[in-house]
């Protein structure tokens, strides 16, 4: 899985989002050791300072825990992970509503369409 | 650092010249053998005598002259390409001063001249001695005998030493003269080689003008070089004057070396402009 970056926003922000996604979907399992800054920066092809900033944000999110002897680990607190999962889901949902609005569907119509789609694809 | 620079300059020099030196020695041996054996044999007449006797000798001299020319080419080429061409991007980013660069190349050129001189002398000896060792060795012993028997004037050894030193310092001055000319040529933006040649000639002209000025102010020992003309009755003038004359010649060469060296260094330090 590659990191993909756009030009219009700072890379550290995009990195933060993509790393959140990976953590929450289990690419980096709860409680596991998180790669070192330099190593992950090389993998992503970005400046280590940029990666450092992204990881600092993840720590602030509560997703990463820094232990002086063990380096960084992914949190194994289900609360933090669920919280993030919910936040990401809500972002996706908001995006959905925005795009539907641009197509001419108001919020209720968008929800209704979702309902129909949901039942059909069971 | 100077030693390290010289190591690499020396390697690039030896790579090019060892074959020439080996060739000189080999031809000398060949010539020595043919001269001393082949030509005596009446079977070798006319064309064969030419092929085996004269031709190798001609080749030997041609190779000797070629060596001198190649030394000159090497001196110019190594400075021009090695410091002022693309290689300059490597040379001038090494943590080494320009003085060390100049000194390394000049000293290696001097070593080149000395080794080539030694090879020529050894080849000459080989030429006369190969195939005819008994004659040659008896010639050597009788010559050594006669040399010991002559009562040499007291300062002769000093004079010989001065001669060798003058040769060494003089060669260095010639080399640094070339370097300064190339450096002056580098100051131009275009036609750098042409300007270098002009600079070389220009420096020569400047030197002879200066010499005239010095001469006309009567520095006697430079004017009266006849002091060490030798004839059957021995040296003219006092020994002290002769040695002094020699020393002042060496001094003049040292002054030239210093002038050329610091002139080149100044250009490399302040006006380097690689393309």
């Amino acid at each position: 899985m590659d990191f993909v970056f756009q030009g219009s926003r700072p890379i550290w922000q995009q990195l933060t989002e993509q790393l959140r996604q990976r953590i929450v979907t289990g690419v980096y399992p709860p409680g596991s050791r998180f790669p070192a800054v330099r190593e992950l920066a090389q993998e992503a092809g970005v400046n280590p300072n940029t990666m450092q900033r992204a990881m600092a944000q993840l720590e602030a999110d509560g997703l990463l825990i820094t232990n002086r002897t063990q380096g960084r680990t992914v949190t194994d607190q289900p609360f933090a992970l669920d919280e993030m999962r919910r936040q990401l889901a809500e972002t996706h949902i908001e995006n959905y509503f925005q795009e539907m609005k641009a197509l001419g569907f108001d919020r209720d119509a968008a929800v209704k369409l979702l309902g129909e789609k949901g039942t059909n694809n069971e | 650092m100077l030693g390290k620079l010289m190591k690499y300059d020396l390697r690039s020099c030896l790579r090019k010249f060892w074959m020439l030196w080996a060739g000189l020695a080999a031809l000398a041996v060949l010539n020595g053998y043919t001269i001393n054996h082949v030509l005596d044999n009446s079977r070798f007449d006319g064309l064969l005598a030419f092929l085996f006797g004269v031709l190798p000798l001609i080749l030997f001299f041609v190779l000797g002259i070629a060596t001198a020319i190649l030394i000159l080419v090497f001196i110019c080429d190594r400075f021009y390409k090695g410091l002022l061409g693309d290689e300059g991007y490597l040379a001038f980013t090494l943590p080494v001063s320009s003085a060390e660069h100049i000194a390394s190349k000049a000293l290696v050129s001097l070593i080149l001249v000395v080794i080539s001189g030694v090879v020529v002398v050894i080849s000459a000896i080989l030429l006369f001695s190969v195939g005819d060792w008994s004659n040659f060795s008896s010639f050597l012993t009788s010559a050594a005998q006669r040399i010991r028997e002559i009562s040499w004037p007291k300062g002769t050894f000093g004079l010989v030493v001065e001669g060798i030193v003058f040769f060494l310092v003089g060669s260095l001055a010639q080399t640094l003269h070339i370097y300064l000319a190339i450096a002056i040529g580098h100051l131009a933006r275009k036609h750098r080689v042409a300007y270098a040649i002009l600079a070389y000639i220009g420096i020569n002209i400047a030197l002879s003008i200066i010499l005239n000025i010095i001469g006309s102010h009567g520095l006697s020992f430079l004017e009266n070089l006849s002091f060490f003309m030798v004839d059957a009755s021995g040296f003219h003038g006092s020994l002290r004057d002769v040695l002094l004359a020699g020393a002042s010649l060496i001094l003049s060469q040292i002054v030239l070396c210093a002038t050329f060296f610091f002139g080149t260094k100044a250009i490399l330090d302040h006006r380097l402009n690689l393309e």
């Binding site: 219009s8 926003r9 090389q42 | 991007y89 690689l274």
Partner: protein, 244 residues
């Protein structure tokens, strides 16, 4: 160590009538990867040559780690020029020996490891290598040093996209993080994501010096986009192709 790895004060350089660098005031801090970005003829190579001591300023000054360019600063700088510079008789192993002889910060083991990875035989004469391999070799030598300042002049120009990725990867993997890397290029999109900071050079003047994050946050554009906008053909009176 002070917070100024490089300080230029009113740095000016002309070549006859051509003004290549125009009173540049610039400070580069350690620990950063900095892009020196500008069109051809903007003075990038001239600036790098002055940092290196290959060229003297006409006026103004530059200090590298507080010192004027000379053998002491050359010890700290690892330079990748935009051309080959090898003595023609050398083999790959000879160049490694040379770097080891002259630079205390040269990591021979790292160099030999990189040669293995590049499948470079140490006994190969350099003149038999292809252009692309020569460039990689040069990069290998430069990045095997633990320098305080890496000066890379157009490291990815004239190189195919796969090799570009390899080069950027090599730079990221090997540079000394307490030092800085200055990458001079006009191919911005390829290097943008590794840069901390961008310096835009136009006709010998610094027209922008800003962190990449700040540029993106402030303008909502990538550095590449901003560059194209600022240097669009109509916006400047043409580059000076004689000034290098």
């Amino acid at each position: 160590m002070s917070n100024e790895l490089v300080r230029c004060s009113a740095l000016t350089r002309n070549f006859g009538p051509i003004l290549a660098l125009d009173h540049i005031d610039l400070v580069l801090e350690p620990g950063k990867i900095i892009g020196l970005l500008g069109p051809n003829g903007s003075g990038k190579t001239t600036l790098i040559k002055i940092f290196n001591g290959l060229l003297q300023p006409t006026s103004g000054s530059v200090l590298i780690d507080g010192k004027q360019p000379g053998p002491a600063t050359k010890k700290l700088i690892s330079y990748l020029p935009d051309r080959g510079y090898f003595p023609e008789w050398m083999k790959v192993g000879d160049m490694i020996d040379l770097f080891g002889d002259f630079y205390n910060d040269f990591d021979r083991v790292k160099a030999e490891d990189m040669c293995r990875a590049l499948q470079l035989d140490l006994a190969l004469p350099i003149k038999t290598l292809s252009k692309g391999t020569k460039e990689k070799m040069q990069l290998m030598l430069v990045m095997s040093r633990n320098a305080q300042l890496y000066l890379l002049d157009e490291p990815i120009a004239g190189v195919d996209p796969a090799a570009r990725d390899f080069i950027m990867q090599t730079i990221l993997t090997n540079y000394n993080e307490t030092g800085s890397v200055l990458i001079s290029t006009h191919l911005i999109s390829d290097v943008e994501q590794v840069l901390d900071e961008a310096v835009f050079l136009q006709q010998g003047r610094v027209v922008l010096q800003e962190s990449v994050d700040s540029i993106r946050e402030r303008t909502g554009k990538s550095v590449d986009d901003l560059f194209r906008e600022m240097f669009r053909a109509g916006n400047w009176e043409g580059g000076n192709n004689n000034a290098r």
